[in-house]
């Protein structure tokens, strides 16, 4: 294992989402892979420009919904036929149409909880301290500026070269991000 570098990466600032998108495409073409882009709102095409395809949130949501639905129905079946069977007006113990509303609600509940907590877990949130926050100007990433970071664990990473490369892409305030 390599010793942990004290530099997290090189951070560049852009004025518009178009410049950021263009820069991400160029950086990816140049062969950098450990990169991340930061924007105050979701910029269309940015994720794809980083060479990424899809995420696992929909799958997790589907599994949560299935678990909620099957578990919900199974639970009602178990309660009404085995744990606490009651004859209500001669209806069958497994009177399944009456179990649908609760099954539906639990499907939605399971899927929604998995969508949110799955999203947070995949994003590794909560994560209150992150090296990019060490850069003073990064606070504009949540209002009107766009950032691109080439991380130091990229195979091609070299501080000066990355900085030069980013400046050529109309970035300003290109800074090193320290790890501590």
């Amino acid at each position: 294992m390599q010793p942990r570098s004290h530099i997290y990466g090189v951070l560049a600032e852009f004025d518009t989402p178009e410049q950021l998108l263009e820069a991400v495409k160029k950086v990816h073409e140049a062969g950098y892979r450990r990169i991340d882009a930061f924007a105050p709102f979701p910029v269309e095409g940015l994720y794809e420009a980083m060479g990424l395809k899809r995420n696992n949130v929909p799958l997790i949501t589907l599994l949560g919904g299935l678990a909620g639905g099957i578990g919900g129905f199974g639970f009602q079946y178990w309660v009404n036929t085995l744990a606490y069977p009651m004859n209500i007006g001669g209806r069958p113990l497994n009177s399944w149409p009456a179990f649908i509303p609760v099954t539906f609600e639990l499907t939605v509940l399971g899927a929604s909880l998995c969508a949110v907590f799955g999203m947070l877990a995949l994003n590794r949130l909560p994560h209150p301290h992150h090296p990019v926050f060490n850069v003073h100007r990064f606070k504009h990433a949540s209002s009107d500026r766009f950032f691109l970071c080439i991380e130091s664990n990229d195979a091609k990473f070299h501080v000066e070269e990355c900085a030069r490369f980013l400046r050529a892409l109309h970035a300003h305030h290109v800074t090193e991000v320290s790890n501590d």
Partner: protein, 461 residues
């Protein structure tokens, strides 16, 4: 549409009726919305409004404390009217909540850009309305300290809830609705909480918003998963919101009481819920945009659209009233026919006529373009519809229960001081929560407004 008219979604129309005032940038929307929370001094009006609302919340606390001491006998309910105000208010509040989910989920799926500036506080309204609604069935149980009996848990008594009962469906529907509304709202807030964290000047605010934003840094990877989750939540909340009022209507429709036992109830309850909810969104939006100078964000286009939704859902509700009555008469069932007579000529007939006036006749004025653009008139209409929808639930609950099958079982219902205190108290709690909300959280989604700025910029090119 005539040939000379531009299509509805053309840039020209969008310019004439903007969803965002001209000249805004990423920075300006951020500063404008976040300053309401962070830098703007708390006004005297805010303190006065909050104080009055909080005082009414105190009235609610007293009403509930007295209820717990004496029991439900302090209310006007008695056999045969076991439901009374508690259920009327429950259905009213939960219906109001529905517009928030409709705006945030259904209009999101339909790609309606105008929802952006109203969805945040509409969702907050949903949450607070569900909180108010949740109080009523709980305190109506008579022994609310045993309300946990309704949840399935392995008790030492070995009993389980009766899953064939609509009342248990209600427990699951309302608690799921509350939970999903809360997480949907919170997910929408995360990027804005990060903005507040970065804009806050004082340490305590930085720490609190920092904790709540969980270290959100706007990474493209995060945004991508975030958008997936948000879209999925919208897709899940859409059938959920329709199911909730359907299940609430089952509380009535599954019973055999005349006037309740009809298949038209689910759709007509859902339409009524959206109707009253949009009325409440207007009731809140109009003072809010005035007080905080948000006319650029909540434009006339928004008010106009909401008035149109109110008009449309109001017509669905009118259709529901008509067919409810028609089917009762057409059925030839003498109890159902008698119920119609009771609505028209019985002791509660004035309530029925007031309901028709508030929900059907007066809202027809919204066909007029000029009146839809008269803010004061819209505010007045939103109050009228809120009252009308409350009357609807009163008519449904009270008239049917006071006049069921056997004349010896007939009765009369009149609310007591404590009934009114509880209703007014929940209104106070709702308003107090809204006051707190606009003071400490961004009432308009900043991140989505930035997206809107980006899109408006593209339109101009």
């Amino acid at each position: 549409m005539s040939a000379g008219q531009p299509p509805l979604d053309s840039p020209e129309i969008r310019r004439l009726t903007p969803v965002l005032g001209p000249g805004h940038t990423f920075g300006s929307v951020t500063d404008k919305i976040s300053s309401i929370v962070l830098t703007r001094p708390t006004s005297f009006g805010w303190y006065m409004g909050f104080l009055i609302a909080f005082g009414l919340t105190g009235l609610l606390t007293i009403a509930i404390a007295w209820l717990f001491t004496k029991g439900t006998g302090i209310w006007g309910i008695n056999i045969p009217i076991g439901w009374g105000f508690a259920i009327v208010n429950f259905v009213w509040w939960i219906g109001i909540g529905h517009a928030g989910t409709l705006i945030s989920a259904i209009l999101f799926l339909l790609n309606q850009k105008w929802r952006t500036s109203i969805n945040r506080f509409a969702e907050a309204m949903t949450l607070f309305a569900v909180a108010c609604a949740g109080i009523f069935p709980l305190i109506h149980t008579g022994r609310p300290w045993m309300a946990f009996y309704m949840f399935p848990y392995p008790s030492t008594m070995g009993v389980w809830p009766q899953f064939r009962s609509p009342l248990i469906w209600d427990v699951f529907a309302v608690s799921t609705y509350g939970t999903v509304s809360l997480i949907f709202w919170f997910v929408g807030l995360i990027p804005d909480l990060a903005t507040l964290r970065d804009h806050a000047a004082k340490k305590p605010a930085q720490i609190i918003y920092g904790m709540l934003s969980m270290g959100w840094r706007g990474s493209a990877r995060h945004w991508h998963r975030y958008q997936s989750a948000y879209l999925l939540l919208a897709g899940l909340a859409t059938p959920l919101v329709l199911s909730v009022h359907t299940v609430v209507s089952f509380d009535f429709a599954i019973a055999i009481v005349p006037g309740w036992h009809t298949t038209i109830f689910p759709p007509y309850f859902v339409a009524g819920a959206i109707y009253s909810g949009f009325a409440m969104v207007l009731t809140i939006a109009i003072p809010l945009r005035k007080a905080y100078g948000l006319e650029d964000f909540i434009t006339m286009r928004h008010l106009d659209n909401m008035a149109k939704v109110m008009l449309a859902t109001g017509l669905i509700v009118a259709y529901g009233y008509f067919f409810e009555m028609f089917l009762s008469l057409y059925s030839g069932n003498k109890f159902d026919v008698f119920l119609v007579e009771q609505r028209l000529h019985g002791p509660y007939a004035p309530f029925y006529y007031a309901l028709i006036l508030c929900n059907i006749l007066l809202p027809q004025t919204l066909w007029s373009h000029a009146l839809r653009h008269n803010v004061a008139f819209l505010f007045f209409m939103s109050i009228v519809v809120n009252v009308g929808m409350w009357l609807e639930r009163f008519v449904i609950v009270v008239i049917s229960l006071t006049r069921d099958f056997v004349p010896s079982a007939w009765g009369r219902y009149w609310p007591t001081f404590w009934d009114w205190a509880t209703l007014i108290g929940t209104i106070g709690m709702f308003v107090a929560l809204l006051f707190l909300f606009v003071r400490v959280l961004p009432a308009i989604s900043i991140a989505e407004m930035r997206e809107l700025v980006a899109e408006t910029a593209e339109d101009k090119k």
